[in-house]
Amino acid sequence: MIKKIWFFILLFGPFLLRAQSKLPDNMFLNTLPNGLQVLVIEDNSVPLATVMITCKNGAFTETPEFNGLSHLYEHMFFKANKDYRTVDDFLGRVSELGMRFNGSTTFEEVNYYFTLPDYNLKDGLRFMNSAIRYPRFDSRDMEHENQVVDGEFQRNESNPGFALNNAMEHHMWGDLYSRKNSLGNHQVIRTATPAMMDSIKNKYYYPNNSLLTVAGNVDHEVVFKDVEKIYGSWKASEFDPFQKWPIPEFKPLDKTDYFIVESSLTKQPQILVEWHGPDTRNDVKATYAADVFSDIVNQSSSTLKKAMMQSGLALQMNVNYLTLGHVGPISMSITPNPAKIKECMEELRRQLLLMDNDDYVTDEQLETAQRKLEITKIREQEVTTDFVETTSFWWASASLDYFTTYTDNMKKITRADLQNYVRKYIKNRPYCAGLLINPDLNAQVNPKDFFVSPN
């Protein structure tokens, strides 16, 4: 019997592995000897090429003392380097090559991209190589950039939703807040030194911790050859940064936690409710169930939407799960009817208790969710300059295999899987609930009397 099973695995194993790695027809993956993964996405609909480097860095790697330095590093990437000695030289080359550029710092990745006319691709690859491998971190450039980052903080603080989101991150993640705060700590950024930038580079900026994506009107064979020539000498690290500096595990919430944020900036109350959800390291199946469940309760026909929106208790409501490698949050964002905030929260709490009932989800809703998620995958591929960011997100927080097998796995989710997901992560589980409200409405409805934890 044992022999028979082994035979089966040996025979079908290679095919299974191949099926898992199967990329769409226009996508090609190669790994250089130094560990740099190179993903090419061919799309000849417009005469452009995009070059993106993604590195597994970001908030999740940051202690409080370093909180915000992945973000500052991202800003400094677009400054002087070995081949472009000043910011003006750097920007001058950007102009010559017809580039649009940007970068982003998120929870589990930092990415940088250039989009340029396809005929400038090779120069774009070289330009990216100079920026990613040889940044200079000039102290005067850093001093100047700090003032720009000040401006970015102030813009965020001017948006009324920022106060609610920031308070939520504190309540959700406690001592490990820095690991989920991509924007960073203002004071840490202000006092950052070139040595601190170097320390990030020396920990995370290696080819074997990076993905290079080249997309657009390009030929994958030519790209692979050019990349090999330009990036082949990039030296791999001799360590795994996540073994050497492990990401600490987030402690589960031990109690339900309500809070109120008063702000004169908002003219409309907002409610945000969040739970610790599954992640791709520990409970992959639940990550698919989370997506399917979120889609179902976002459908107009869902029990939740009818109870919350069709009743007039909420003006808007959206349920989300963010897939991450380290505890993805499940969130419900609600714009309550200002005259019915109390009733809105009462109904939400009632709904939370019903979500694992056999009749909470219909077969048709499950089928619809699975079809919609498949369509979402098609939609994500429409705009290639955006799609490179989507693939880099999956690469960092899950894997490219997770991305390629997503639809098949998501379609396997059953009603029982949804119930298990709700019971494990939502129903009777501790959560954080925040209310953003302006002072006038706060005085009028007095939410501190009812916006409190039920236990």
Partner: protein, 441 residues
């Protein structure tokens, strides 16, 4: 699930100018325009899986008074949210969910539209909803009341967003006494007072073959499209449509509208006159403002570190305009830099290399916005509403032909004064009072 709306930092898109090193070939099929039973149809075939269809209604704010601000948004949103003859509101939404169809609407200053976006596999199901919304909306009263509350909530939310509130303040003051004084997004009191009969009557008034046109972008067959248009829209009323003639105010002075706010930074914008969208001066003007935006990035952000967000752009419209903007903790210094840079742009033309860089940046940016069916349909529709759909397609050619002299002439001819808006600490606006009065000559 991946959702890019989660906090991501440094997402301000930066465009720096570029050089054109070769000829960019057109990789896609040609756009065509034809008449189907009295309705103008603009059709662009593409190779991707997403189809976008938009029914446009000409006129925008010219169709109503400022006391009715928001009525078009209310009416168009109701066509896709408040039921049709074939589908009640609930069934309609279920159909959207079932086939991954997105129905939405837009109300702008010069036009409104109802939009269908779907994958080609479910185009028939999508078209069915789209045609029902255009032809047979029923405005179910309970749904209209729920929608009214959502619209009022969205108007309040918009007013809480400082970037949007700053632009609203700017346009409201600059266009006082003209149709653009009305915000098409809506006025809270006006939306509260509108009756269902008002909303229905408004929609009826704009639904006629003379006032509408259709834009379709996607992987579909032209004959199939024509058959669908005939079957769905043949019975619509035919009526002559005469577009309103709008006269843009001339901003030849220097004034500032101040709104005190407790925001952590200050939001400053200025508006300036611009050439007509369908004139030969518009593209050079637009390029000049883009070059000016690049100069603001270099001076305000890179050299002076006064701001994280700044820029300048030309806005096409029946009353077109240019805008420059900044968010800054140092308003006086930032306004001084903005005005001095504008003076420099007006007085010194672009070098040949600078012009090449600018042309390249336009080409890259143009194609970035030609990737989705929705964006292509949006640019064709806007151009058609303002003078002709071909203007959107001719942009790359016009950019390549523009000269430094044309750019300088257009900027100097139309920028003869500034109307500023300021949202932030009013005491800092007082400090900047003289800077706001600086003439840009």
């Amino acid at each position: 699930m991946y959702h890019p709306t989660k906090p991501v930092y440094m997402k301000k898109i930066l465009i720096v100018t570029a050089v054109v090193c070769g000829t960019i070939s057109a990789l896609r099929a040609q756009t065509t325009s034809f008449d189907v039973d009295g309705i103008k149809v603009i059709f662009k075939p593409t190779v991707k899986e997403i189809i976008d269809v938009r029914m446009y209604y000409r006129g925008g704010v010219s169709n109503y008074t400022k006391e009715q601000a928001g009525i078009e948004r209310f009416a168009l949103t109701a066509t896709e949210q408040c039921g049709t003859q074939k589908y009640n509101a609930s069934t309609y939404k279920d159909q959207e969910d079932k086939y991954g169809i997105t129905m939405r609407s837009v109300s702008d200053y010069d036009y409104g539209d109802i939009e269908l976006e779907c994958v080609s596999k479910y185009f028939n199901e999508g078209w069915d909803l789209f045609a029902e919304s255009v032809v047979n909306p029923v405005f179910e009263s309970s749904e209209v009341e729920l929608l009214r509350n959502r619209l009022i909530g969205s108007i309040k939310t918009k007013a809480s967003q400082p970037d949007q509130q700053s632009t609203s303040l700017l346009l409201k003051n600059a266009f006082e006494g003209t149709p653009y004084e009305a915000d098409p997004y809506g006025d809270e009191d006006a939306v509260r007072k509108m009756s269902i009969a008002d909303v229905k009557a408004y929609y009826k008034s704009i639904l006629n073959k003379g006032q509408i046109f259709l834009v379709v972008v996607g992987k579909i067959d032209r004959d199939e499209l024509i058959a669908k248009v005939k079957a769905s829209f043949d019975g619509l009323p035919a009526k002559d449509y005469t577009p309103a003639t709008l006269k843009e105010p001339t901003w030849n002075d220097y004034k500032v509208a101040v709104e005190n706010s407790e925001t952590s930074t200050n939001y400053i914008s200025a508006i300036m006159n611009a050439p007509p969208y369908n004139s030969t001066e518009f593209v050079p003007y637009r390029m000049g403002l883009a070059a000016f935006g690049g100069a603001l990035f270099a001076s305000l952000r890179t050299q002076r570190n006064l701001s994280y967000s700044q820029g300048a752009y030309a806005n096409p419209g029946q009353m077109p305009y240019g805008i420059m903007f900044v968010s800054t903790a140092q308003p006086k210094e930032a306004v001084q830099v903005m005005t001095s840079m504008l003076v420099r742009v007006k007085n010194y033309g672009l070098s040949e290399v600078g012009l090449q860089h600018l042309q390249g940046s336009f080409i890259t940016n143009y194609y970035i916005h030609q990737q989705s069916s929705s964006a292509i349909a949006g640019s064709l529709g806007e151009a058609e509403a303002l003078g002709g759909w071909y203007l959107a397609e001719s942009l790359p050619g016009l950019v390549q032909k523009a000269t430094s002299d044309q750019i300088k002439d257009a900027i100097n001819k139309y920028i003869v004064g500034l109307r500023w808006s300021y949202l932030g600490k009013s005491s800092l606006a007082d400090d900047a009072a003289d800077a706001f009065k600086t003439a840009v000559k």
